[in-house]
């Protein structure tokens, strides 16, 4: 498909702005280079972007079991609420008395999500999960620094963790200590005991973990870290399995981030914007980024925590994403939140059971909201890899699961159906998976060649990295 730069003709444009009604001014160090932007009519513009949209698989296009990404349905009421002019037209530096509704959104969201997570305070400034991790780790750093406990330079991360965990730890100035998982995919408690010490600043963990298992030793794990003087960070990427059922705060975690764009149903926009709300226990609240929102008899107002680490982003974060998440939490309420988690877990177990007829599971069930298959045996028997199965799914209108993650499982496919998928859909999808298994044995080449029905077929990623073409150049 042509690029927008290859369409239209010089001189084509939209008529958008009026003539200048005041004397015109020019700057002395004016731009001398040409400004090469597209030149198209409104018709051409809408057709181009409509054609692009058709070349994207979204949640509304079909099943999207991308493990660890919680691709649940994005309710349309959320969009309507976020697009109210009373939110979209508000300047972030208006006086507090003129933004009471925005402050109420932040304050209510904080209150409700603290209850869901077992935390005492929450900031919505971080824009994404990784940004939340960075923020949370800075809280841990500020805590130790404030106590003049300066020898704590290490963050412990299990080898099954998301790549953002170690990368965030380094950005926060820490050295990463990787601890191996035990054969059941959970934290190796003895390895953890050996890893902690007076240099331990904290532990980063997601529970359920990245293989979809709830770590039954969680209280012991957080106790070991606390006893060593470290703090416990909860990566909330997998909260969808347990929200309303068990709370990170009750597991012994001191600070968490939530991906509002996963668990709390806000859309992912092809890669963002998300929101990485960070919650913490009372003793860490004094370090949160400012401003926070407080309430008194006169209404809501901004306040800056006493020993704030400072801002991590301008203004109040991805506010419109928070409006969507609040709308969702208000819709589901106290019964709906655990109901969603339980159905996410039920759906995952249902698929695990059905796929287990042929596919090998990396770990025995029951699983939480997701499970990991390992296609090592299939690959040995047929030459068909996890990648091939994934590409085969594309020809059936199904978005593949997360591939080759976590790193501790070989030929991994990680499946997370979410609670918003019906039994009928899952039955159909499982049948496709099982048919692909048969196809792998009958005609492996067909899967090496897949996909064939997508707008483009397998792309040369190696070539793209070797000879990077990162922008259009008019010939």
């Amino acid at each position: 498909m042509k690029l927008i730069f290859e369409k239209g003709a010089p001189g084509q444009h939209l008529t958008l702005l009026p003539a200048c009604d005041v004397p015109e001014v020019t700057l002395s160090n004016a731009r001398t280079e040409p400004l090469d932007l597209p030149h198209v009519s409104e018709t051409e513009l809408t057709r181009h972007y409509t054609a692009l949209a058709k070349r994207v698989h979204g949640v509304n296009d079909g099943f999207y079991p991308l493990g660890s990404c919680t691709m649940k349905y994005n309710p349309k009421i959320n969009e309507d609420m976020a697009n109210l002019p009373g939110f979209t037209q508000i300047h972030p530096l208006q006086g507090e008395e003129t933004v009471q509704g925005c402050l109420e959104v932040l304050h209510e969201s904080e209150k409700l999500l603290c209850e869901v997570t077992g935390m005492n305070a929450m900031t919505f400034q971080p824009a994404a999960g990784a940004h939340g991790e960075f923020t949370g780790l800075l809280l841990i750093k500020a805590y130790h620094t404030h106590r003049q406990d300066t020898g704590r330079t290490k963050i412990i991360v299990p080898d099954s963790a998301h790549g953002t965990n170690p990368a965030s730890a380094v950005m926060a100035g820490y050295t990463v200590v990787n601890v191996p998982s035990s054969p059941d995919g959970c934290v190796d408690v003895e390895a953890l005991r050996a890893a902690v010490g007076p240099d331990t600043a904290g532990l980063m963990l997601t529970n359920p973990n990245t293989v979809g298992i709830f770590d039954r030793n969680i209280l012991e794990i957080t106790r070991i870290v606390h006893d060593a003087g470290g703090l416990c960070y909860y990566d909330g990427a997998n909260l969808n399995a347990v929200m309303g059922v068990v709370r990170p705060g009750d597991m012994g975690f001191d600070v968490i981030h939530l991906n509002l764009h996963k668990t709390f149903s806000t859309p992912h926009g092809g890669g963002g914007p998300g929101a990485g709300a960070v919650g913490c226990k009372e003793f860490l609240a004094q370090f949160l980024p400012g401003p926070m929102v407080a309430k008194d008899e006169k209404g809501y107002h901004f306040t800056v925590p006493a020993h704030s680490i400072g801002r991590v982003k301008n203004f109040c974060g991805n506010f419109a994403v928070v409006v969507r998440a609040l709308t969702y939490v208000l819709t589901l309420g106290r019964e709906g939140i655990p109901e969603a988690a339980k159905n996410a877990v039920l759906n995952a177990n249902y698929m695990m059971k059905k796929l287990g007829e042929k596919y090998a599971m990396a770990y025995a069930g029951p699983c939480m909201h997701e499970f990991v298959m390992t296609l090592v045996d299939l690959k040995e028997a047929t030459g068909v890899s996890a990648m091939d199965i994934a590409k085969g799914l594309l020809d059936h209108g199904i978005h593949p699961p997360t591939m080759y993650f976590p790193l501790i499982v070989h030929e991994a496919l990680m499946i997370e159906p979410t609670e918003t998928e019906s039994q009928e859909t899952m039955d159909e999808v499982c049948q496709v998976f099982l048919d692909l298994w048969d196809l792998a044995h009958e005609n492996p080449q067909a899967l090496h060649d897949a996909p064939t029905k997508t707008p483009v077929r397998r792309l040369d990623e190696v070539g793209a990295a070797r000879n990077p073409v990162l922008r259009y150049n008019a010939g």
Binding site: F5, L16, C20, P23, L27, L35, P38, V40, T50, A53, K54, R55, H57, G58, K72, N74, M81, L84, P85, T88, Q89, I90, H91, G101, E104, E115, V116, L137, A142, G163, T164, A167, A169, G173, V176, R216, G269, G270, G271, G272, P273, I309, K313, N314, C316, N318, V323, L330, T331, E335, G336, F405, P455, V456, L459, D460, E461, A464, V469, Y472
Partner: protein
């Protein structure tokens, strides 16, 4: 209670029996019993109509101003109708990061086009796919310039104070040193600091926080003379008429791209853009899209140069960024397409000219500009009683400029404000002052 769960009770029972569980609680057997939540202290769920009423009531408590003369990092510009129409396409809104390139060509191509437009606007060689906002783009840019010998960032005191604060927070994490370069007459006074052998970079904002145009070329030359990199934080609308960061010698150009078609929306989501020279582009954080071919030789797009990124490099990654602001970058791309070069220049010139007209009217009303020299669409005036002035404007439905301390106001005018509105605001101020 509201729900988005399709499965009926009967279906759930059938599924439970298929997995061999009696009830769903059985599936949570690994959770220590004492930890299970009995009931959350949350309000009961509600119907869509009730939720709509609740949230709409919150929005109604905010004041929407007909006229906005405040910027300071968030700018209300005209957004063509076609932008929202295109951007609300469900496929784009609901998709994840384009890991599966074959079914994500629309997103990947739109990012490739966005990258091209950011390069066109800035004159830089390579753009990434976006970061969270202008402040985090600036903070990430400092980290790009750091090496073993050079650990100190010099940041103009004329940059947005919130952005400086974000940079400080990032430096608290990384251990990079940050020194501010003092201000003189509303501009960066580089002569007030000595760039040492540890200078990693110099950061300025153009136009700066006070709206003033910096002598960017000279600052860039001084930075390079000291062996430091030069970073410019730019307003993308201004770039349509102002010399580019590339022309000023910038190694990295970043900025807040909210003015490119995004609502002010109480501060977010916004869009951080980042672009670099050929020599620096491998240090860019975040996603980058590249052009390639499929097995049939068809042109296609993929996420590329991923060896910089966290999911491959883990603790050795150049940044932890994973999710970015893809839909906002898409929006900016549609906006720049709709505006074209001509429309972008028109928006810039209208903002520039109207701001100068308003500055003249304010001077007549008794509010003199504080700084000398050229400015874009923001400027600072004296004002003995900012509270009173702003209150009177407020009563007339006008959001006045941002008070800076007790005796100054930072004003902003964009193409959205008509001459009549400016005259009306000036008349009110004349009455007060």
């Amino acid at each position: 209670m509201g729900t988005y769960i399709p499965n009926t009770e009967a279906q759930r029972k059938a599924m439970l029996s298929a997995v061999g569980a009696e009830c769903v609680e059985d599936l949570y057997a690994a959770v220590p019993r004492e930890m299970l939540v009995e009931a959350l202290d949350l309000p009961a769920g509600c119907s869509e109509l009730e939720v709509r009423q609740k949230v709409t009531a919150m929005a109604a408590k905010n004041r929407v101003y007909a006229t906005v003369l405040r910027g300071a990092g968030a700018y209300r510009h005209f957004i063509p109708a076609v932008v929202k129409s295109v951007v609300s396409r469900e496929e784009l809104v609901t998709a994840y990061t384009p890991y599966q390139a074959e079914v994500s060509q629309g997103i990947l191509q739109s990012i490739f086009e966005y990258q091209t437009m950011i390069c066109a606007l800035t004159g830089m060689d390579v753009s990434n796919a976006s970061v969270y906002d202008g402040s985090t783009a600036a903070a990430e840019a400092l980290a790009m310039c750091r090496d073993r010998k050079r650990n100190k960032a010099y940041v103009s005191a004329c940059a947005d104070p919130q952005t400086i604060e974000v940079m400080r927070t990032y430096c608290f994490g990384s251990g990079m040193e940050l020194e501010t370069i003092p201000e003189k007459d509303g501009r960066t006074d580089l002569s007030a600091v000595t760039l040492g052998a540890d200078a990693a970079c110099v950061y300025i904002q153009q136009p700066n926080y006070y709206g003033n145009i910096e002598d960017a070329r000279a600052i860039g030359e001084a930075a390079h003379a000291a062996g430091a990199k030069f970073i410019m934080g730019c307003n993308p609308i201004a770039l349509a008429v102002l010399e580019t960061p590339a022309a000023c010698g910038a190694d990295v150009a970043v900025g807040e791209a909210q003015p490119l078609g995004l609502d002010i929306a109480f501060g977010g989501p916004y869009l951080g853009f980042m672009a670099a020279t050929k020599a620096m582009f491998r240090k860019l954080p975040g996603r980058i899209v590249g052009q390639t071919h499929d097995v049939d030789g068809q042109v296609g797009y993929v996420l590329t140069l991923t060896a910089r990124e966290q999911h491959i490099r883990r603790e050795k990654a150049s940044s932890n960024i994973c999710s970015n602001q893809a839909l906002c970058a898409f929006t900016a791309g549609v906006y720049m397409t709709a505006m074209g070069a001509q429309g972008m220049r028109q928006a810039a010139n209208l903002s520039l000219s109207k701001a100068h007209y308003f500055a003249g009217e304010l001077e007549k009303a008794g509010l003199k500009r504080v700084h000398s020299g050229e400015f874009f669409h923001e400027f600072v005036t004296e004002c003995k009683n900012p509270d009173k002035v702003l209150r009177r404007l407020d009563e007339a439905g006008i959001l006045g400029g941002l008070p800076l301390g007790e005796d100054r106001i930072l004003w902003c005018v964009t193409e959205l404000v008509s001459r009549e509105e400016l005259d009306r605001a000036a008349a009110i101020i004349k009455e007060v002052c």
